[in-house]
């Protein structure tokens, strides 16, 4: 059984560009959450998707948006990239919104 997968592994973008990150949840999981982890910090909650809708959102600007597809996979989109968006982006899936989160390996985004 494959765990949570994320793509790409690494990404380098230029300030002002847009980026899309992808996540496939663990088999049978219908809830996907996204996190941003800056170097040396703990993960920061961006938002959570359940039944194809954004259910909860952390303190992130509208430049951060997402989508969940009928197969429960998810995308994170970031527009107008800033240098401060450089971070490890983690996706976590769970059986229900309150459950144990299973994390993917993350996507390392570097904005230059």
């Amino acid at each position: 059984d494959a765990g949570v997968t994320q793509s790409p592994t690494h990404l380098i973008k230029t300030r002002g560009q847009q980026v899309t990150l992808r996540c496939s949840p663990k088999s049978g999981h219908d809830t996907v959450s996204w996190y941003q982890q800056a170097l040396g910090q703990g993960p920061q909650f961006i938002f959570q998707y359940y039944e194809e809708e954004e259910r909860q959102r952390g303190n992130f600007p509208d430049r951060f948006s997402g989508h969940q597809f009928p197969n429960y996979s998810s995308e994170l989109n970031v527009n107008a990239l800033l240098l401060g968006d450089s971070a490890l982006y983690l996706c976590a899936s769970s059986l229900d919104p309150r459950g144990q989160g299973y994390f993917g390996p993350g996507t390392r985004l570097t904005v230059t």
Binding site: V4, S33, Y35, Q37, L39, G40, Q41, G42, P43, Q44, F45, Q48, R55, Q56, G58, L88, L90, A92, P97, R98, G99, Q100, G101, Y102, F103, G104, P105, G106
Partner: protein, 109 residues
């Protein structure tokens, strides 16, 4: 901030010793979870304790939760070099998850 905060920020012990990490948080929670992270990679779930539970064990791990003090502790017994990692607590407050900045544990062989 609603984040959990771990204490200490860093901990260095010898193999075989016990390691204790603490977590404090500010809001009411549904549950609290502990995770391990090796060198900036994905997080590995260790244990989940619900708000109506006071203690939970899993192998060499023991977690306590005191909701009146809004605090939790993670005890790793008989530590091994492979336990070297960053440890995070995450609070779940109505489906919003908040992580602290973690405890860096170094277990010396």
């Amino acid at each position: 901030s609603q984040q959990g905060e771990e204490d200490p920020q860093a901990l260095s012990i010898q193999e075989g010793e016990n390691a204790t990490m603490n977590c404090s948080y500010k809001t009411s929670i549904n549950n609290l979870q502990w995770y391990r992270q090796n060198s900036g990679r994905g997080l590995v779930h260790l244990i989940l304790i619900r708000s109506n539970e006071r203690e939970k064990h899993s192998g060499r791990l023991r977690v306590t939760l005191d909701t009146s003090k809004k605090s939790s502790s993670l005890l790793i017994t008989a530590s091994r070099a492979a336990d070297t990692a960053s440890y995070f607590c995450a609070t779940n407050n109505f489906n919003k998850f908040y992580f602290g900045s973690g405890t860096k544990l170094n277990v010396k062989p």
